[in-house]
Symmetry: C2
Subunit: 390 residues, 2 copies
Amino acid sequence: MISVSDALDALLALVSPTAVETVPLRAAAGRVLAAPVTARRDQPPFAASAMDGYAVKAAEVERDAMFKIIGESAAGHGFAGQVGAGQAVRIFTGAPVPKGADFVVIQEDISRTGSLITISDHPGPGRNIRALGSDFCVGSSVSAPRILSPADIALLAAMNIADVPVRTKPTVALISTGDELALPGDMPGPDQIIASNTFGLDAMITAVGATARILPIARDTIGSLSMALELANKADLIVTIGGASVGDHDLVEQVTEDVGMSRSFYKVAMRPGKPLMAGKIGPSAMVGLPGNPVSAMVCGHIFLLPMLRVMLGLSPETQTPPLAPLANDLPPNGPRTHYMRARLDNHGLHVFDDQDSARLALFAEANALVIRPPHDTARQKSEHLAYIAI
Amino acid sequence: MISVSDALDALLALVSPTAVETVPLRAAAGRVLAAPVTARRDQPPFAASAMDGYAVKAAEVERDAMFKIIGESAAGHGFAGQVGAGQAVRIFTGAPVPKGADFVVIQEDISRTGSLITISDHPGPGRNIRALGSDFCVGSSVSAPRILSPADIALLAAMNIADVPVRTKPTVALISTGDELALPGDMPGPDQIIASNTFGLDAMITAVGATARILPIARDTIGSLSMALELANKADLIVTIGGASVGDHDLVEQVTEDVGMSRSFYKVAMRPGKPLMAGKIGPSAMVGLPGNPVSAMVCGHIFLLPMLRVMLGLSPETQTPPLAPLANDLPPNGPRTHYMRARLDNHGLHVFDDQDSARLALFAEANALVIRPPHDTARQKSEHLAYIAI
């Protein structure tokens, strides 16, 4: 058995960032920017009015000054002429400030009679003009990697980036194994249960930006599992679930050896999830997860998500695990890292009494995994412990 | 001008939950469960072994006790017979516990010779059996509404729910208005800028589970805006961006009145985003957002997302805004609620000096909006202020 951190290191060594593809801007939302992009425009592309008002010469701005209106500058339709002494151009927010003008008197500070205006209130010190390029300039860069947020998408649009280089979505082949499994909607036999892991992992994997392929359930025969592995061919990551201990045989071990898998490790000192194997089958990374539903999902959080983040060109962890106070006491931990299912609310981390790795209904109520290192001492209510939000 | 909270109340009154549709389990991930669903199965559907070992009668379990192995129970293939006195059945994790047995001695506590086993170590008090229905029973309920998490999807699978009732995705028609706008990839004219709001809002809206339709840019004519509104027909929510003040006319006001909009309000006491209008056009809710990119995106967070959450059958707010310490001092606030762009890190909320609502590049660096109520007093570094994560 190896430690969680050694297992994670070994797993991350199995994967590398996917290729770069170019997608239309709209499809880039939530994807990972793969290379820095640079603005193709200045923004604003001209000195622009920040207010509705009148563009004049700053040197002439004072209370009671009068100007003759010689034209209008609206958004999309600038004033082609030049503003001279004693002249003003009616201007609206976002419109180009005409040549010769360098001050916009806001309309609230003006009284107007026909084509004449008078400054009727003391104009403030601000010129109400956004300088050319004051948001960004040609060549201004959006750094990579980053998960493209709605604001990033708006920014890329403003920069006139119609096509965006992003990481190709990693493909993950999910293979559930076991004669006991039926699919949702099936009529299961008396000794059967419904396959749940593939569906939970599919949702988890898809949410971080990978593409999951749910393969047919592999039955507990060499032929069936071999066929599933063949179908998984070319996936960036192959995930088997269960089958690590079938009768007295480890079918997954046997079949993956037959297809030439180079084994990275087997078994990790963690709860839930001890049986976990990993390696490489041709170019694909392969991870064998335990079959208990909660174990499979916890291993998904602890191992698969960091692997996928690396494949997406990101750092493996989103953040240092945050701390929160315990809402109940905890006994000392055993020799394995324990990811304890808990519910975090305003009162702290309520760690469930029942940590049975088969209890999916309970797991669905958890929103945090409290991290207990090996041999962690007993912990008391109000102590702060690190957790992973799930 | 009305307050943010009055505006939000008025906006939420314009919308109601969408219809319920049934989707396949896999497609339900991240969707909002619209009605409680109940398990169609007990889980486990039989008393199941929690370990690899030997199923025997509990009354006979003691150190040095011997048993004759009469068969095997594997996952998916139970043992059909009955365990009698002095008998054991080889059993594996997840397999049905055979009739007559009520204890599983784990294999580490056994020595085996041919078909005979001896308990070689002191078995613990645990029976290593998961009772029938100990995870959930037929009729156990998953409550609604909830955003279906990966763990929820796994649970629904285990309950044999192949089709899931979810809220139909609200449809949102996005109409940018203005002669100054060009699309990403276009060659903009000298007085033009690239439309960014629609793309940012599209990403924001899609991420919470709505479907956005980006309509053609409406030019600053009654005809063009009328046509765009016609195209928006049947959207649950119509969002116009800009056009609230075009030249000396409010085009959006004029055209929406022409199509019979019942006006809910106009202008909200907030920064950024003062010009905001809302009402109903036929069955569709309509919101007119300001055209400044940052204003539009902030209004998206403050108003559109709560509206969409209500349309999805959820409560409008995800949570009470959390508090974080300021990393810098802030001047007193004016008469309007101010959503100040800030970057939250381990040192607290770094509120940007420049709060110009046209600066999209700066907005893309923000991950928090610090909430300043009207007339909020000056605030000092380390004071805790409420913020919205963006």
